[in-house]
């Protein structure tokens, strides 16, 4: 493998943006038919580098050579012509177009301008079979789940005859068995001589799939290792990435008290058509307890969270601190101590085009120090924002920059800081460390642990099973809107939990739901 010719050679790549150096002197050799992983913190410059390689941005300095020929890309189409394909972290798919239309867009097989559906379908069916990437070609993308969308993205790239595949954080949105499927597809691709660039910050996965690993720190390549010949562990990689050890989500000792903070009885959420999304779910969370909900996305987690926040209509009874609050508005729930870390910070957590201190007031705009009950008090809010920035290590030039200028991890730290500052009694945390690098991740875990010790009740939803197992005191498995199993976080393994999430029970650490 090491002797294979170099498919992609990046030499001395520099890229500067106003005020930031995204890439400084990047050098990279990727060999044909190998999986080459690129790891680094959020904001280390991985994405910029890949955008340069894919023709979306031009490097200020440096050269790109594909299969030995130096190239200059003016647009993604140049990169596509050179055999490079990219699967973006945020899928680049049009929901209202069919799978087939999404794949052939831009390179449609035509006869005098008319799309030849049959040719496209034959070709795609063959590709899908060859690499085991099964998708329904005539469905709308809006009807499909995350795993299928990723397969569409890969097919899109293969359909264009790509021999070099860039995968940007491909496993961030997948559950364990989907990751396995992806990895087996990648092995097939590799066997066909396709070169894969795999960007990730999940180090275990990188070690499992990569032939070579390059580490990027602060915009530069700091090391390239070969995990097949050199002994390298996840801890070693983490140290190269951030200069510190890999954090773990472990909590020590139980802080669960017998004071029930929130008691959910027979919660149900229906679709407009009357189909249950959440089906008669009941649970209690005590002060100092973290209740984790495991489940493949789309099984009702988001609806439970929205129902508890009072954002969507639901039936059932909600007891909070001993009183029935089912009729409370979202505002009242917020004011009375509900903290909320939403699953999609771009959509629910932040106003991207607003300064940090305004974002800090969001959700707590009726409370001190943001308001005196009648008017907003920006001066106090700004001071408090500065405190959060300091305490929660939000890296930003000032509190007046727009939230969109922060990296994902720093945005998330701001949200966590905001929610913790209002002294919550009950916290809904949905994917609190999604898309966040190891440094920010361990900081967020620390804050959750600290809050738990001081008596906070937490509902934790996460697709990261290590996180779920490590932080939770109790784990319930949600499938099609119902709790189907309980898991003991002390004994259960991520593999067992992943299996239980798909509906298969009966293994150590997994019991039928109580």
């Amino acid at each position: 493998m090491i002797d294979a010719p170099v498919a992609v050679k990046l030499a001395g790549i520099w890229k500067r943006f106003p005020g930031v150096i995204a890439n400084s002197d990047i050098n990279l050799d990727v060999r044909r038919g190998s999986v080459h992983a690129i790891v680094g913190e959020n904001g280390a410059g991985k994405s910029t580098l890949m955008k340069i390689l894919y023709g979306m941005q031009k490097p200020d300095e440096g050269t790109i050579a594909i299969n030995g020929n130096e190239v200059i890309f003016h647009s993604p189409s140049d990169a596509i012509d050179a055999g490079i394909g990219m699967v973006h972290q945020h899928f680049m798919l049009a929901d209202n177009l069919t799978v087939l239309e999404n794949i052939i867009l831009g390179s449609e097989p035509t006869k005098r301008g008319v799309i030849n559906q049959q040719t496209a379908l034959t070709r795609l069916t063959q590709l899908a079979q060859q690499y085991g990437l099964d998708v329904p070609f005539n469905s709308f993308v809006s009807e499909l789940g995350v795993g299928a969308r990723q397969r569409i993205e890969i097919l899109k790239v293969l359909y264009r005859g790509a021999s070099i595949l860039i995968l940007d954080e491909p496993t961030a949105v997948l559950v364990p068995h989907e990751v396995d499927e992806l990895f087996s597809a990648l092995s097939d691709l590799k066997a066909e001589g396709i070169t894969i660039l795999f960007i990730s910050h999940k180090l275990d996965e990188v070690l499992a799939i990569a032939d070579e690993i390059s580490v990027i720190r602060a915009g530069s390549t700091v090391a390239t290792v070969d995990p097949r010949t050199q002994k390298v562990s996840a801890d070693d990689l983490a140290e190269m990435m951030v200069g510190s050890e890999l954090p773990t989500p472990e909590t020590r000792g139980s802080t669960v008290t017998d004071e029930v903070i929130i008691d959910v009885r027979n919660l149900s959420v229906l679709t407009a058509a009357g189909k249950p999304l959440v089906d008669d779910v009941s649970f209690k969370i005590h002060a100092g307890e973290i209740l984790g909900i495991a489940g493949v996305e789309g099984n009702g987690q988001a609806e439970i969270v929205d129902a508890l926040m009072g954002i969507i209509k639901s039936s059932g009874v909600l007891i909070y601190n001993g009183g029935d609050i089912s009729k409370w508005s979202t505002r009242k729930r917020r004011e009375q101590g509900f903290g909320f870390i939403p699953e999609d910070r771009m959509r629910q957590g932040l106003l991207l085009e607003a300064p940090l201190w305004e974002n800090k007031m969001l959700g707590h705009q009726t409370l001190k120090p943001n308001s005196n009950g009648f008017l907003l008090t920006p001066a106090d809010a700004k001071n408090d924002t500065a405190r959060i920035i300091d305490e929660y290590d939000v890296r930003t030039p000032s509190i007046d920059v727009f939230a969109s200028a922060l990296s994902g991890g720093n945005q998330q730290k701001l949200i966590v800081g905001r929610e913790m500052s209002s002294d919550p009694k009950f916290l809904l945390a949905a994917h609190p460390t999604r898309g966040v690098d190891v440094g920010a991740q361990s900081a967020i875990w620390d804050h959750l642990r600290k809050a738990r010790e001081s008596g906070l009740a937490v509902l934790l939803i996460s697709a990261d099973l290590d996180e779920l197992i490590g932080l939770s005191d109790t784990i319930k498995v949600l499938l099609r809107g119902k709790f189907v199993a309980d898991a003991n976080p002390v004994t259960v393994t991520p593999q067992e939990l992943g299996t239980a999430m798909t509906g298969v029970k009966k293994s150590d650490g997994i019991e039928a739901a109580s």
């Binding site: 680049m92 301008g113 799309i115």
Partner: protein
């Protein structure tokens, strides 16, 4: 509603609507409700609305909300009046299309290249189109024989129209028999082949061509992708900006053509205020039609039909009110069956009230009667809107290279 194919469903809806219309005709005792004359006039009024709607469809499919259709249509009426007066009707059509396109080009530069908010830019185009047309009309027509400050001299000659006698006449005879449903269908189809302007034929062709181009060709797929997910399209090498320009310019030329129909076929002159908000109604029919040509065409016909009846005698309006009431009641029963209770009850109450009004009066106050059809349309739209599938990025500014 269930597993039936879309074409069967549309056919079922069509036949049900005709049945209700037929019942209304019999109870309101007005044969004119579905006569050839009414239907032909309805199709005539539907053409400019439909063309405007089709213009909106092109533009929105590429992600640009074109609220400036009205202004482009006004420019079209001026172009038609001016060029038509000088060189005849076909030159008028060409003039209208050109003027509509110029308006659209300006709109495209502002919205696509500079990312100005599309609603604001569209409103500006409407104001500009109106003012510019008035100004140019003053310059061009004030001293012209037969013209005036806000009116052009007549267009030189008429656009030809055709009547296919051997289809239109027997159907017309059938319509006059007054048979349940059959006569109504006959009247409708007779109207389709009666005094048919070449522009109407062209409009039908343009509708079919639009559907075919947008959903069957690679050009169409790329254009739609610019409205659904421009960033995805860009990563696949589609020149999003170019497709948006093309779409907006086609949109403007269709709006111009709508103006041409009003000025050349409708009245034979350019006149200030001729468009009377049809650009906006066109936009509404496009939404009613779920951003698809077939639906837009049906929507335009419905609006054209309502318009026609208001111009005719009062008995027709009574018939129309009853028709609206029956539609609401029918929808209420459909809704109750699929469990949408609140809306259905509201429909039932309003529908019954309209039936009551119909029974209580032999001569309806024209104001009430004129509003009723629009109320019905609004209510129908309010329920239909939950199933609509608009282009995902319609109305959003797109800047190249901003994709993540």
């Amino acid at each position: 509603m269930n597993t039936k194919s879309p074409s069967i469903r549309i056919f079922a809806f069509f036949i049900s609507a005709m049945t209700l219309l037929s019942i209304s005709r019999i109870f309101a005792d007005t044969n004119d409700l579905t006569s050839r004359g009414t239907m032909a006039a309805a199709f005539g009024l539907a053409v400019p609305i439909g063309l405007a709607g089709l213009g909106g469809l092109w533009s929105e499919r590429a992600g640009i909300v074109n609220i400036g259709l009205e202004g482009m249509m006004i420019l079209g009426t001026f172009g038609a009046g001016w060029a038509g007066w000088q060189w005849g009707p076909w030159a008028g059509v060409l003039g209208a299309v050109t003027f509509g396109m110029l308006g659209a080009l300006l709109f495209a530069i502002v919205t696509v290249s500079f990312g100005v908010d599309q609603i604001i830019a569209g409103t500006a185009i409407n104001i500009l189109g109106l003012g510019l047309a008035q100004f140019l009309a003053k310059l061009a027509f004030s001293n012209a024989p037969g013209g005036g400050q806000s009116q052009s001299p007549p267009v030189k000659g008429l656009l030809p129209s055709v009547t296919i006698d051997f289809i239109a006449d027997p159907l017309n005879t059938l319509q006059q028999k007054g048979w349940f449903v059959i006569s109504d269908l006959a009247g409708m189809f007779s109207g389709l082949f009666y005094h048919l302007s070449y522009l109407t034929i062209l409009t039908v062709i343009l509708f079919v061509l639009t559907g075919w181009t947008l959903w069957r060709t690679s050009f169409g797929l790329r254009l739609r992708s610019a409205g659904e997910s421009p960033s995805a399209a860009e990563t696949l090498g589609v020149n999003v900006i170019r497709y948006k320009y093309i779409a907006v310019i086609i949109s403007g030329s269709l709006a111009g053509l709508a103006g041409a129909y009003l000025a050349i076929v409708g009245t034979n002159v350019y006149r200030g205020g001729q468009t009377a908000g049809r650009g906006y109604i066109g936009l509404a029919t496009m939404i009613f039609g779920n951003w698809r040509p077939m639906g837009t065409g049906i929507g335009a016909t419905v609006f054209g039909y309502i318009d026609t009846l208001q111009l005719r005698d009062n008995a027709n309006i009574r018939g129309l009110v009853l028709f609206g009431a029956l539609v609401l009641i029918a929808l209420a029963f459909l809704g109750l069956r699929s469990g949408v209770r609140a809306t259905s009850l509201a429909f039932l109450i309003i529908g019954s009230a309209l039936v009551g009004g119909f029974l209580a009066s032999t001569n309806m106050a024209p104001e009430v009667a004129q509003v009723a059809p629009y109320v019905t349309t609004l209510l129908v739209l309010a329920t239909a809107s939950q199933r609509l599938r608009p282009p995902a990025t319609a109305g959003m500014a797109y800047r190249k290279g901003e994709s993540h």
